[in-house]
């Protein structure tokens, strides 16, 4: 017989596979304790109020419990959870503002042609955080997602590929476009 392992000592990946096997809600509570504050703070970045962020966190964890078996262990659990959270938040934001976003997108595409040079990480790091916060609330949530994954959660290009399920060149292209949009919106503010 295997010696009993303390639940607190299990790695995230082991914990997740145990939850998938047993559907045990006490194990899920451990996972909740580990990640809920992180998820909540990420939701605050997308929600308009604290109450809305709480609702989002609630819905994310319910969906997480049901969809946990779609985590195949291709990446770290935290990476997977970040993209799961962002996807949920982006869907939430887009639900209300679909039409509005389309108009913004078109005008952005037309103007984007004028920017030719690649924007480096240093250029991005020179942006002021207060203004950046405002800019992130204006731009397309999909661009916001990829920028946050890259610069806030420090995901590599390889990890972004897995998290978003797209190829390397697609990741680079989306990052480039997102950076262009941020700088463009930043300069307009």
């Amino acid at each position: 017989m295997k010696p009993p392992v303390k639940i607190g000592q299990l790695s995230d990946e082991e914990l997740v596979s145990e939850i998938i096997k047993t559907k045990d809600s006490t194990l899920f509570a451990v996972l909740y304790d580990r990640y809920a504050p992180l998820v909540y703070n990420k939701c605050l970045g997308f929600a308009k109020s604290k109450v809305q962020a709480e609702d989002l966190t609630h819905d994310i964890f319910i969906k997480l419990y049901v969809k946990l078996n779609s985590f195949k262990g291709n990446s770290k659990f935290s990476t997977w959870l970040y993209s799961f959270t962002y996807n949920f938040c982006v869907n939430f934001v887009q639900r209300d503002s679909y039409k509005k976003r389309e108009e913004v997108n078109e005008s952005a595409i037309n103007k984007r042609a004028s920017i030719v040079d690649e924007i480096s990480d240093n250029d991005i790091f020179q942006l002021k955080s207060e203004k950046l916060k405002k800019v992130l609330s204006i731009i397309d949530p999909n661009d916001k997602m990829i920028l946050l994954l890259k610069y806030q959660d420090d995901l590599s290009i390889r990890e972004l590929q897995v998290a978003l399920g797209i190829g390397e060149s697609a990741v680079k292209m989306r990052l480039k476009r997102a950076k262009e949009k941020v700088v463009e919106a930043y300069n307009k503010l």
Partner: protein, 59 residues
């Protein structure tokens, strides 16, 4: 150089009451799944096996 993205990360405390609400919802979902599993999969399986046993005896 300092990363402005790290600065805009929220540092709010998570409300304690949320956990109870989420866990009770999770328990309810688990119960629903278990009951559905019992009625849709396990019961029919048992009945099928039972009938098959009878059939075998009759042969």
């Amino acid at each position: 150089m300092e990363n402005p993205f790290k600065k805009i990360l929220h540092q709010e405390e998570l409300p304690k009451k949320l956990k109870g609400k989420i866990m009770s919802d999770i328990s309810f979902i688990k119960l629903t799944i278990d009951v559905a599993d019992l009625l849709v999969i396990k019961y029919p399986e048992t009945i099928e096996n039972f009938l098959r046993l009878k059939e075998d005896k009759n042969k």
